[in-house]
């Protein structure tokens, strides 16, 4: 029988940052075992495992993990969906539970990225002594830097600039102030890779990577893992009162890809698929953006955070600059955004990110976020986007059980 309500029973993220002495299996094991302990269950209770490690997508992180923490013979889905890999792992487990194939499952995302540099492969041809057209563009040379850029900082810089061209009001300083908000938030998050308060002037003075994104406005490449145990509502109601009280309701779980629009194969359109995911999620949850107590959105670059205020409909269309200037996305505002510090300071171990942002929301809904607790938080939204593109949106609600 199909299950129609889904809950997070346990969830964990490791410290993000440099883990020179642990490999991806160590980090995944740490997060998975901690999530199981948080849930009060064991691997023997899991009916499905979905796991992602984008940089090692061919290696089968799910089975590698099982060989350390429990080879129980359950189906494993190794997932890869760019920066939305973690959200895709969660979504996969949710689909398995919803289908009625099992009543509990584990989702894990892990990455080791310290020192990886700028991500994004250049399209085009290999070097040769004689010009030889190859590839889908018939290119005689690599195209990175010759015909634009595929490097993430430059791609997302253009995403923010395009928004500025369309609606006005953006500037280098505005993007730096958005980044300063997140760096300030990170000082309250002991699991963040970088906990350093920075003024917007300091951020603007950092080395320029891709205008208007300086180094401090780019997500921090770091190591880390996150894991979540998901459960059907029916099964949850058979567990202890304490497990039921700490469980977090998944009111919406949505995954979208980018629909065709003019220009979307020139510069990736990260807007429409996010808007589509948000619209579906609000409808499924019966919740509007005005009901959200906090939002963790995919600020892979400061320029990205701005456009997602609009895409997630936290403001009227075209109103993202006014929304920021009003103070709404600050900790003390009406819709706090990225109180974890965001990817710019918390870090962005790619496959872990889409579970870690859900962990942050759960932490607040359970009232366990300590000094950075958003008081009385009852509902939150977690958003990730992976270029290519994939967008995951989850709406989560405090347990009423």
């Amino acid at each position: 029988m199909a299950n129609d309500d889904i809950w997070i029973l346990g969830i964990n993220m490791t410290k993000f940052g440099k883990h020179p002495n642990e490999d991806v299996v160590d980090l995944a094991s740490e997060a998975a075992l901690a999530a199981l302990a948080d849930a009060g269950v064991t691997m023997a209770d899991m009916g499905v495992l979905a796991a992602g490690n984008l940089m090692g997508a061919a290696a089968g992180i799910g089975q590698q993990l099982q060989k350390q923490i429990g080879q129980t013979g359950i189906p494993v889905f190794n997932v890869a969906n760019a920066c939305a890999t973690g959200a895709t792992a969660i979504r996969t487990v949710i689909m398995a539970i919803k289908s009625g194939e099992c009543d509990m499952g584990l989702a894990v995302g892990v990455e080791k990225l310290s020192g990886a540099g700028m991500l994004g492969a250049g399209m085009g041809a290999a070097a040769s002594d004689e010009w030889t057209p190859s590839g889908r563009f018939g290119a005689v040379s690599g195209l990175e830097g010759k015909l634009g850029t595929d490097m993430m900082p430059g791609v997302f810089a253009q995403v923010g600039m395009e928004y500025g061209h369309k609606y006005g009001g953006t500037s280098f300083e505005l993007f730096a102030r958005i980044s300063a908000k997140n760096h300030s938030n990170s000082t309250l998050n002991p699991l963040a890779a970088i906990q350093k308060d920075m003024t917007f002037e300091q951020i603007m003075a950092e080395p320029m990577i891709a205008y208007p994104n300086t180094r401090a406005m780019c997500s921090a490449n770091s190591d880390g893992a996150a894991a979540a145990v998901l459960i059907s509502g029916e099964k949850l109601r058979t567990l202890s009162k304490e497990q039921q009280r700490r469980a977090v309701k998944v009111s919406a779980s949505v995954l979208t890809s980018d629909p065709y629009e003019e220009g979307c194969q020139i510069l990736p359109n990260v807007n429409t698929l996010t808007r589509n995911a948000a619209r579906q999620a609000y409808e499924l949850a019966g919740i509007g953006p005005e009901d959200l107590d906090l939002v963790e959105l995919h600020d892979c670059f400061a320029t990205a955070e701005l456009v997602h205020y609009d895409n997630l409909m936290l403001c009227p269309e075209g109103g993202a600059v006014d929304f920021f200037e009003s103070g709404a996305p600050f900790r003390t505002g009406s819709t706090p955004v990225n109180v974890s510090g965001g990817l710019e300071s918390k870090g962005h171990p790619i496959a872990a990110t889409g579970i870690a942002n859900i962990w942050e929301i759960c932490h607040h809904l359970r009232g366990e976020a300590g000094p950075r607790q958003i008081e009385g938080a009852k509902v939150g939204l977690a958003h990730v986007i992976g270029l290519g593109s994939a967008c995951g949106v989850h709406i989560l609600e405090k347990s009423g059980l």
Binding site: R136, F137, G138, A139, L143, L147, G148, Q158, I266
Partner: protein, 130 residues
């Protein structure tokens, strides 16, 4: 003149260099790469469409290269009469005083190197129109 070859196959050289797109005969969607089908309507037939060489900067960034001593470059999205084109902004200073959103630009071509057979590869970019 030495033999020339375009950097990409959708750049047409000659007296009036321009870009040419694969246009879906069903829905009109335009692409610069080799196609299997149309991403918009799944149509299977395409025709060649010349792209106008004047445009407007819709988005840009200024990338600071890793290699010391290499100049910054300016990736941009150019709106060429309703068709988006990807290129660098060239022939102007790579800073936010000289490159601005909405600025008018035009296509230009330039050599990017010569191979061992003496063939010159030619790339394209967009330069300020004024």
């Amino acid at each position: 003149m030495a033999d020339q070859i375009p950097l990409v196959d959708y750049l047409v050289l000659g007296d009036s260099p321009h870009l040419v797109a694969n246009e879906c005969t069903n829905c009109g969607a335009r692409y610069f790469d080799r196609r299997n089908a149309c991403a918009s309507c799944s149509g299977l037939t395409f025709t060649k469409a010349d792209i106008v060489t004047d445009g407007e900067v819709r988005a840009f960034t200024i990338v600071t290269p890793w290699m010391p001593g290499t100049a910054p470059y300016v990736p941009a999205v150019i709106d060429c009469g309703g068709t988006s084109v990807r290129a660098n902004i060239v022939n102007t200073e790579p800073d936010d005083q000289h490159v601005t959103l909405g600025m008018k630009v035009r296509l230009t071509t330039f050599p990017i190197g010569t191979d061992t057979a003496g063939t010159e590869a030619v790339g394209y970019g967009f330069e300020p129109a004024n």
